[in-house]
């Protein structure tokens, strides 16, 4: 696949994904209300129309066929109403259609073949359409007649306008491009007719378009102006002409048979005065372009000013900004200018510092995306499970606008989904009666909330169900041999932590949704991967809360710079509990000669970083250096280092791929960062350092 095709595919996937998500939102909203509003119908129609068009262009036929059916249905509903008669089946069918599209999209993303198995679904939708059509057949006749008279009445009043578009030479797929153009224009203004008419289905029309151009007819001058604006902003269009057809001529040909000879001889006729050439190539006159964008933005009040950017480009930008920040401090603190009184230099330097700070903040904010995308998807899960399990439940979302780094958003989707499923499956009571019996609202509530606190985002998944029976958890853990101390010594918190161990599932019956034993431990692992922590609280009869503490971003870390020999290391600040000097008599040795220290009545192993990493240093006596007590999740230990340099915010850079081949990631090296003086500091990964250094002892 060549590059432009790859780009097109990426664009297609992005667009379709966004639209399917939109579709889901609309469906959920409409289902809650029980009916489709006019806007909803129009919106779904538009979404399906676009998916159909772009899928056809990319030759994903099953997708375009399905979208075509749904579009037909909604077209009918848009014109004639009647959606209320179908009721619930309609929603289910639409949800299934959306699932089908999603599945196909993920197939495309994973380079797997598309499945053609949509027969049942399209038939169902067709049947719905047919029943609607039958029901309204009588009315149709009337309304059609009305329409006909209306359009006839309208016609002679005004002249018709048309626009003839020529595409860039050799651009290919002219018919589908025209079709896309028609779609775009239709979004903002009605098109009376276009020529050739069979662009969507008939490939051979491409040739005609190349030769004679693609012609669209409009009934009003305003529509024409708007269409001109759209045409001007479209890609691959070489030139276009717009014309006003005189009354006599517009009236004569039928809509379906536009006046081909007229358009062919535009130039001559313009001179002859039969057709007035009001707007010709080049498309530069000031009036139309100025009007068009204004009109467009009016037509889409809800349309946001968004562009999609490749994430690697942002990473690159981030890198460069990091460089600029470092270079800036290298310049302003250059030893060459120390001791000089440079007023204007200092002033400019301060200005530069301010700008680079702003720049860094802005670039960081570009990578931040709201968690609403992830949260929205949960609506669908709660709905589906609520139906499948026959437990009335609703999802309440709080703080969906909270922003987190893109990488993190991508990796918390699955854990959150898992926990929402858990809440539905294990949390909420099995029937509404059970809930009423204990005086609760029959409809269960799952609350999903996100909020900022300092450098972290706290996401919590809360249900008001029956809570976790700690005795059951203990029994189960004992059966599975997961207990490491007498049962009576387990605190409530520790018992809940057992749930996060691999291979733990209290639900005896494996259901479609959960209970396969690969559960919370995967959640925990995924969250820890992005530097987060999972914790749970639960109260019998009141519900369960799972809380995820997640760092805002992976790209910038508040770190403590430490020195060992000639090397500088960075320890993430959130891993540090405290640092202190120790006297040699405080050190306790275990049988293998490992060093330990007692802190708050617990013993922690000491890892001498210079020994573990084989670094040369003069600081080997335990009293000369400093001990840092660090903690990551449930792992806690002490590091012995030469000295502390101080706190610093650092930009995390991955090490070259080549080096990861040496397995250094497992030895506690997470990445590196460039310090203000251009030197490199190695960022330590506290959990894996523990695995490598302490577990070995």
């Amino acid at each position: 696949m060549d590059n432009s095709m790859q780009n097109m595919l990426e664009m297609y996937l992005y667009e379709t994904n966004t639209m399917v998500e939109q579709l889901d939102e609309i469906l959920l909203e409409a289902e809650n209300v029980g009916t489709f509003s006019v806007e909803n119908i129009n919106e779904i129609f538009r979404i399906m129309h676009t998916i159909k068009g772009s899928s056809a262009m990319m030759q994903f036929n099953p997708l375009s066929t399905l979208a075509h059916q749904v579009e037909n249905l909604f077209f009918f509903m848009r014109e004639n109403g009647g959606h209320n008669e179908i009721g619930h089946d309609l929603f289910n069918a639409l949800f299934r259609a959306s699932d089908f599209i999603k599945a196909q999209i993920s197939n495309i993303e994973n380079n797997e073949p598309l499945s053609d198995d949509i027969g049942g679904l399209t038939k169902e939708i067709q049947a719905m359409l047919a029943s609607l059509q039958n029901a309204q057949a009588g009315e149709d006749v009337k309304s059609e007649a009305q329409e006909a008279t209306a359009s006839e009445a309208e016609q002679p009043n005004g002249s018709r306008f048309c626009i003839k578009v020529f595409f860039d030479e050799g651009v290919g797929m002219e018919n589908l491009r025209s079709f896309m153009l028609v779609n775009t224009i239709k979004e903002s203004c009605p098109i009376d007719a276009y020529e050739p008419a069979e662009i969507e289905t008939d490939q051979s029309t491409a040739a005609q378009i190349i030769e004679q151009g693609f012609i669209m007819y409009f009934n009003a001058k305003d529509d024409l102006d708007m269409a001109i604006g759209i045409v001007e902003s479209s890609l691959n269009i070489r030139t276009y002409e717009s014309m006003e057809l005189s009354q006599a001529e517009a009236g004569a040909p039928e809509q379906a048979a536009p006046p081909e000879p007229t358009s062919e001889k535009t130039e001559d006729k313009a001179a002859a005065g039969d057709t007035a050439l009001v707007h010709a190539e080049p498309p530069k006159p000031g009036q139309a372009p100025a009007q068009a964008p204004a009109a467009q933005s009016q037509a889409h009040p809800g349309k946001q000013n968004l562009i999609s950017v490749n994430l690697t480009k942002l990473d690159k930008l981030m890198d460069i900004v990091g460089e600029i920040v470092i270079t800036e401090s290298m310049v302003t603190s250059s030893p060459d200018i120390q001791g000089f009184k440079l007023d204007s230099f200092t002033k400019s330097a301060r200005q530069l510092r301010k700008l680079t700070d702003d720049l860094q903040d802005t670039v960081m904010s570009i990578r931040m995306v709201p968690v609403s995308g992830v949260f929205q998807k949960m609506n669908r899960i709660v709905r589906d499970m609520s139906q499948a399990l026959d437990r009335p439940a609703k999802l309440v979302v709080v703080g969906a606008e909270t922003e987190v780094d893109k990488t993190i958003v991508d990796s918390i989707g699955d854990p959150i989904m898992h926990m929402v499923r858990n809440a539905m499956d294990h949390g909420i009571e099995e029937s509404a009666d059970d809930r009423v019996a204990v005086g609760k609202d029959p409809t269960g509530t799952v609350t999903l909330s996100a909020q900022h606190t300092g450098g972290e985002v706290i996401i919590s998944i809360e249900d008001d169900g029956r809570g976790i029976n700690t005795q059951k958890v203990l029994d189960k853990a004992r059966d599975q041999g997961l207990l490491i101390k007498p049962e009576s010594e387990y605190s409530q918190k520790e018992i809940l932590q057992l749930l996060l161990l691999p291979g733990f599932s209290t639900n005896e019956n494996v259901t479609e949704f959960s209970g396969r034993g690969v559960g919370m431990d995967v959640v925990k692992k995924n969250i820890e991967k992005v530097g987060g922590v999972v914790s749970m609280t639960s109260e019998i009869g009141r519900g369960t809360v799972t809380t995820l503490n997640i760092p805002l971003t992976l790209a910038i870390v508040d770190g403590m710079e430490i020195v060992v020999g000639d090397s500088i290391f960075t320890i993430p600040l959130h891993n540090i509990r405290s640092s202190f000097k120790v006297a040699s008599q405080d050190i306790i040795y275990d049988s293998a000669g490992g060093e330990m220290i007692c802190r708050m009545e617990s013993f922690y192993p000491i890892v001498r970083l210079h020994e573990f990493y084989g670094l040369e240093t003069e600081v080997t006596g335990v009293e000369e250096g400093i001990v840092i007590w660090i903690e990551a999740g449930d792992k806690s230990y002490c590091l012995f280092v030469d000295r502390l340099l101080g706190e610093q915010q650092v930009v995390v850079k991955p090490l070259p791929n080549y080096l990861y081949a040496f397995n250094i990631k497992k030895l506690g090296i997470a990445g590196c960062t460039i310090l203000g003086d251009g030197n490199i500091s190695i960022i330590l990964d506290i959990p894996s350092l523990y695995e490598a250094a302490v577990s070995r002892i």
Partner: protein
């Protein structure tokens, strides 16, 4: 149209021809440019396509727990590049830094790496037919060819093997 096109076409080879002649004093068809350097007293050559740049003194940050031939990493204008000691990589003893030691930054399959060498010589053209296979019992595992040019022997280094 045709005449316009043909003129630069004629001129281009002439220019090239001329430049090459000036640089290398000889012209051969089917030859590649190589960068030659010295490591442990031996002359080596690597295809110039791999070479990004040559840098002199640089502050190398030691990286713990990697094979000895990885000297560490450097910050080259914001890019983190691992440094490999050519001597150690080929099983020769390490030597002291001199004025002439430098780092050749090469890029192999999008992996950038700095090669720490004793001394960089110059760029030469080696005709393809002047390269002979290394002897079978050769214990220089990274060498994939030998050439004898102007009375100097160069070992052709396989950069991809170096990174394996």
């Amino acid at each position: 149209m045709m005449t316009q096109l043909s003129q630069p076409n004629q001129a281009a080879p002439n220019d090239l021809f001329y430049e090459e002649e000036e640089e290398t004093q000889e012209t051969v068809s089917d030859s590649r440019k190589y960068l030659t350097f010295v490591s442990n007293g031996l002359g080596f050559a690597i295809p110039s396509d791999y070479v990004i740049e040559i840098i002199n003194e640089h502050n190398i940050t030691h990286l713990p727990r990697v094979p000895g031939y990885i000297k560490g990493i450097i910050n080259l204008r914001g890019q983190i590049i691992p440094i490999m000691d050519a001597r150690l990589r080929m099983g020769h003893p390490e030597s002291a830094h001199t004025k002439e030691t430098c780092i050749i930054v090469i890029s192999v399959n999008e992996n950038s790496i700095g090669l720490f060498v004793d001394k960089v010589l110059h760029m030469i053209d080696i005709p393809d037919d002047a390269i002979s296979e290394p002897p079978v019992n050769n214990n220089q595992e990274f060498v994939n060819g030998i050439t004898h040019l102007n009375n100097v022997v160069y070992l052709l280094l396989d950069c991809e093997l170096l990174l394996k």
